[in-house]
């Protein structure tokens, strides 16, 4: 198999994997909110908010996807790559701070309990619980926006919007199925670790595309993406380990 085809295959796999993992993380967070609404305000409100949010997100991708793919590739890469790099660094920075003990770990159970308390404190609505619908809608829509952003940037710059979108949908279906089966927040999903991996991949892809967009020529061309991922992962894991050591009680005291 020619090297270029192999490299393309690896890129497609990494693109799909990054989108799948990011979507998994966001959908787990959205599921927590939907479950909280369902348990406190009723499942009609939860499902209505969920469906309306998913339709809105699908419309967003359908409307923006083709428009983004029409932008000239050179201009697209520097802008989209730059945005993805900034976005990815946001994820990676938080993941390093969490792993290093400088930021609280994401706790779906605690978030679920807080959401339930807030929803129970609000008064009940009429037959259609508008408050419940709006909470479910906002939760799913806002979490889904991050996935849409990743799908559009990945898909547009690689020219494989359908692959990115399919990976996101697959993750959403998987999380929904697990949610229906378990009927509780998915606390056993290693969210913090997944966010770390997604942050590494978004940052690496962002560096690769933005670098190309401003005229940098990566040694080994597309294959260098794997080097970037390895280096970013190594630096991030090493940095988190150093932070953890510096923030242990013996080190602080």
């Amino acid at each position: 198999m020619p090297a270029a085809v192999r490299t393309l295959g690896v890129h497609l796999f990494l693109l799909a994997l990054a989108t799948f993992l990011a979507s998994t993380v966001e959908m787990v967070e959205a599921l927590t909110i939907v479950l909280a609404v369902g348990v406190t305000r009723g499942w009609r409100a939860a499902v209505t908010g969920l469906v309306v949010a998913l339709v809105a997100l699908a419309v967003l991708v359908a409307a923006l996807g083709p428009a983004v793919t029409r932008i000239p590739l050179g201009d697209l890469r520097v802008v989209v790559g730059g945005l993805l790099l900034v976005f990815g660094l946001q994820w990676l920075r938080k993941a390093i701070l969490r792993a290093g003990g400088l930021k609280g770990l994401h706790d779906e159970d605690a978030i679920y309990r807080a959401e339930v308390a807030q929803l129970e404190a609000a008064g009940r609505g009429g037959r259609v619980d508008g408050y419940g619908v709006s909470v479910a809608f906002k939760g799913v829509f806002l979490e889904g926006l991050e996935v849409v952003f990743i799908v559009l940037t990945f898909g547009a710059t690689q020219g494989h919007l359908a692959v990115a979108a399919l990976a996101a949908v697959a993750a959403a279906v998987m999380v929904a199925a697990l949610g229906v089966a378990v009927h509780r927040p998915l606390t056993r999903v290693p969210e913090n670790s997944l966010k770390f991996v997604v942050g590494v991949m978004l940052t690496s892809f962002g560096m690769f595309w933005a670098g190309e967009g401003v005229g940098a020529r990566w040694p080994g061309s597309d294959a260098f993406l794997l080097v970037l991922i390895g280096a970013t992962l190594g630096l991030s894991v090493g940095g988190a380990a150093l932070l953890r050591r510096a923030n242990t009680p013996a080190a602080v005291g």
């Binding site: 520097v78 730059g82 945005l83 790099l85 900034v86 976005f87 660094l89 946001q90 990676l92 920075r93 938080k94 390093i96 701070l97 290093g100 400088l102 926006l145 991050e146 952003f149 940052t203 560096m207 933005a210 670098g211 967009g213 401003v214 005229g215 940098a216 020529r217 990566w218 040694p219 260098f224 970037l228 280096a231 970013t232 630096l235 940095g239 932070l243 510096a246 923030n247 602080v252």
Partner: protein
């Protein structure tokens, strides 16, 4: 605050997050790389090195802020 301004700030917050200096550093790194490209210099090295440096500085700032003793209210 107008709805448009709120929407703009929400978009900025969505992409940039809580450390705008990191985003500014990325823009600076890309600009310098663009300037250095086209000559014989391997400008590609500037991107990972610049990004790594920006991320390190951002994290170290949080670490230093966490180590600082709280301000005396009295």
């Amino acid at each position: 605050m107008g709805a448009l301004k709120r929407a703009w700030l929400a978009c900025v917050d969505f992409v940039v997050g809580d450390d705008w200096t990191l985003a500014a550093a990325v823009v600076a790194v890309l600009f310098v790389t663009w300037l250095a490209s086209g000559g014989g210099f391997p400008s590609w090295i500037l991107v990972p090195v610049g990004v790594a440096a920006a991320l390190t500085v951002s994290v170290v700032r949080v670490q230093r802020a966490a180590r600082r003793p709280p301000a005396d209210p009295g």
